[in-house]
């Protein structure tokens, strides 16, 4: 099969926050860049981020990057790489101010500076009981405002977009270098090769491997599937963040900014139970801590409602003025999805899958790194990753709220800068494509075209989500994990035999969902296998049989390979770039 080849200096796969930030760097440098996206850029999931983006601007009280760095290391349960965390926190002010200059409609203080609110786990003075005002916010629509601003700037920079194109597979040559991607144009059903000197994966997370998720339908781990199929390991995939406040029954996110503004959680006795679990930070402890506390309350019979299966988020005491000014989107969501107007009544909430801390292993310059003989972190030439699909790792075992929007700005920018540098230093001509460049994609599409019977894609993917939900939850149990691995193996086999009825070439969304299922399988498998193998509790991984963190044996990153579903491990970077290391210690809030 010979496919049309389109040639660019750089490819960006995904047009959410990190992809658009990187594309801006590339387009402004005058390079030929193509941005591929399954959806129109402003439909990317960054749009759903609510509460804020972290930066120690110190607009409301003292703050600095050292404190932010400490909070992030502690929040990560010491699994975060401290060089990358220092890098991110030191560039936070720069990237947020830059975004303001681009037109981002941040809320304002009386003195005209950017409004900042407190958020979970962000403190003053290295974990004191005083919360830092670090979350820069545009009401509770920060992600929407950010994504639109970045898209607008890309229009200004004349970035070339390929909208409603789905990337299928990475193209690697015999040296292991990445030379671009294969991609499917949804409107025509045509497949093309995008040949590039540098390719960035900015495809977001895979929250859709769980039945109850705050994530959009499109969050199917496409970049992770592409990397895994190309022989690149996935790092720390056991760590999925359960956000404490998803709307009960609907999964839609209610920002932690509600608690930042003064809201709190209640059990069925009307007790503010977080006071028992986190005496200092209370409802603003980090997300893993709050989600476990909520799950414990529910398990011990103190949940609300007829099934005693959720808790309540109270914010009516903030008053209509604060709610309408600072949390208008939340009010809209609560009325629509919970039939509750938060000005008058509490919102029923449950911990809900929200964010993938793991991903494609990358350094803080955005370069993808994988073990090679003699080097545990050898750069995969031509491949970069940024945002939720990457594991840099700044979030370690648990991400702090507002650090995801910061992550995508900082590493979107740094990967863009690094790609510009690499392209300028590279020879004028592209490396030749291997003859079998499109073979993997061709085989996947051919299988779908020839399959006339079997199980429907929707059935298999719904089962996958149910298995992950039941076997890989807030608390993890040894028998359930072992069983979960077996069930996922069965689902992977079923996925390989699934079929679709739709034969059309034009906007065949059934085909897209079938191709997404391949990516869900790789992501879910890596998650459950890595979780089963890690015999400790750390951050978002809480095991009943190993309830403590075990730094002697498990202060290390997991690396899952698709080939044989094999695991390797590599050390955590405990040494920051310029400051003293934060030694692991007991984590309390």
């Amino acid at each position: 099969m010979s496919l049309p080849v389109r040639t660019f200096d750089a490819m960006v796969v995904g047009a959410g926050g990190s992809g658009l930030r990187a594309a801006l760097e590339l387009a402004r440098a005058g390079l030929r860049v193509a941005v591929l996206s399954k959806v129109f850029p402003t439909r990317s999931h960054t749009v759903a981020a609510q509460g804020g983006v972290a930066a120690p601007l110190a607009n409301s009280g003292e703050d600095n990057w050292h404190w932010h760095m400490y909070d992030t290391v502690k929040g990560s349960d010491y699994l975060g790489d401290q060089d990358a965390i220092e890098y991110m926190c030191r560039r936070a002010v720069e990237v947020v101010v830059e975004l303001e200059h681009m037109g981002m409609p941040f809320d304002r203080l009386e003195n005209g500076k950017i409004y900042q609110r407190p958020f979970g786990g962000h403190t003053q003075d290295y974990g004191s009981s005083k919360m830092a005002m670090r979350a820069c916010a545009a009401a509770d629509r920060t992600g929407h405002a950010m994504l639109h601003t970045l898209y607008q700037q890309n229009l200004h920079a004349s970035t070339q977009f390929f909208v409603e194109w789905m990337a299928l597979d990475l193209i690697r040559d015999a040296d292991g270098d990445v030379l671009g991607v294969t991609a499917l144009e949804m409107e025509t059903g045509e497949t093309s090769i995008f040949h590039a000197k540098a390719t960035l994966l900015a495809t977001g997370g895979a929250g859709r491997i769980f039945a109850a998720s705050t994530n959009a339908f499109i969050n199917t781990g496409d970049g992770l599937g592409m990397a895994a199929r190309a022989g690149i390991p996935l790092q720390d995939m056991e760590f999925y963040q359960f956000h404490p406040t998803g709307v009960y029954g609907a999964g839609v996110l209610i920002t932690e900014g509600v608690r930042g503004e003064g809201g709190y959680l209640l059990n069925k006795d009307g007790e503010r139970f977080m006071e028992r679990y986190a005496p200092n930070a209370k409802d603003l402890a980090s997300r893993d801590v709050v989600s476990r506390a909520m799950t414990t309350e529910i398990k011990e019979g103190r949940g609300c409602g007829p099934q005693a299966d959720h808790v309540m988020l109270k914010l009516d005491h903030l008053g209509a003025a604060v709610i309408n000014q600072r949390l208008p989107g939340i009010r809209e969501i609560a009325i629509k999805f919970a039939n509750a107007d938060p000005i008058r009544e509490p919102i029923p909430v449950v911990p809900t899958v929200h964010y993938q801390m793991g991903g494609v292993p990358a350094n803080y310059l955005g370069e993808v790194v994988a073990p090679a003989p003699g080097n545990r972190e050898a750069v995969v030439h031509g491949l970069y990753a940024a945002g939720e699909c990457s594991c840099v790792s700044v979030h370690g075992a648990n991400r702090l709220g507002t650090n995801s929007l910061l992550d995508l700005l900082v590493f979107g920018k740094s990967s863009g800068e690094q790609m510009v540098k690499a392209i300028r230093e590279s020879p004028a001509a592209h490396k030749p494509l291997p003859t079998d460049a499109a073979e993997r994609s061709r085989a996947r599409l051919a299988r779908l075209d020839s399959a006339r019977s079997g199980e429907r894609v929707a059935e298999v993917s719904n089962d996958l989500r149910r298995v992950m939900q039941a076997h890989c939850g807030v608390f993890r149990f040894p028998e359930l994990l072992v069983e979960g691995v077996e069930k996922m193996q069965a689902i992977a086999a079923r996925a390989a035999r699934s079929f679709i009825d739709d034969r059309s070439r034009v906007f065949n969304t059934a085909r897209i969902e079938a191709l997404e299922l391949d990516n869900l399988v790789e992501t879910a498998m890596s998650t459950v296998v890595s979780a089963e193998a890690r015999k400790e509790s750390r951050g978002a991984q809480a095991r009943s049989d190993f309830p403590e963190r075990d730094d002697a044996n498990w202060l290390k990153h997991s690396l899952w390979y698709k080939d044989g579903s094999r695991l390797e491990y590599k050390p955590v970077h405990l040494n920051p770039l310029t400051v003293e290391s934060f030694e692991p210690k007991v984590r309390t809030y």
Partner: protein, 231 residues
Amino acid sequence: MRFNIYRYDPDKDARPYMKAYELALEPTDRMLLDALVKIKAQDDSLAFRRSCREGVCGSDAMNINGKNGLACITKLADLPAQVTLRPLPGLPVVRDLIVDMTQFFKQYESIRPYLINEAPAPERERLQSPEAREALNGLYECILCACCSTACPSFWWNPDKFVGPAGLLQAYRFIADTRDRATAARLDDLEDPYRLFRCHSIMNCVDVCPKNLNPTQAIGKIKDIMVRRAV
């Protein structure tokens, strides 16, 4: 519940047709999008766009019983027993409920939807008072779903010449931003019998906007500013 859905696949259909689907709803099916996802699980050939499922990405705009809206925040309980779904009116149909939005986005791009300020940027943020920021509320929240422009008769007639309510709302978003320095150029660009003045205050845009925004009011404000600068 019964759903009559517009179907058209240019790959095999000579012309569009309506197809009926019966669906037994469960209590967990709250929104129209939940029903569409269930129908698609039975008939995977039904094509529609969707993503965030919470009314913030703007993917699943469609015509629901004659009125444009987002499937993901349209409650099933608020719909009659018979629901008719068609693609957004006035734009070419790609397939089923999916329309070609090229013309819509072209108009959005035509208003230069980005902050223009050539002055050297300060080291820290540009200052803006809470009141000046407040002026952007009701403008910046647009999700580009196209419910408004595709409900506008003026846009139906002149989609290539009239910017339409969504684009004009964004034009005013930048005019209203105290940090933007291109107001005069923005007004010059709109001072045209078609681009701005094809709006006849029919207000369908206000009626359908799923985010409760008011493009007609924004258009009125642009016209006011034009009148004031002319005298």
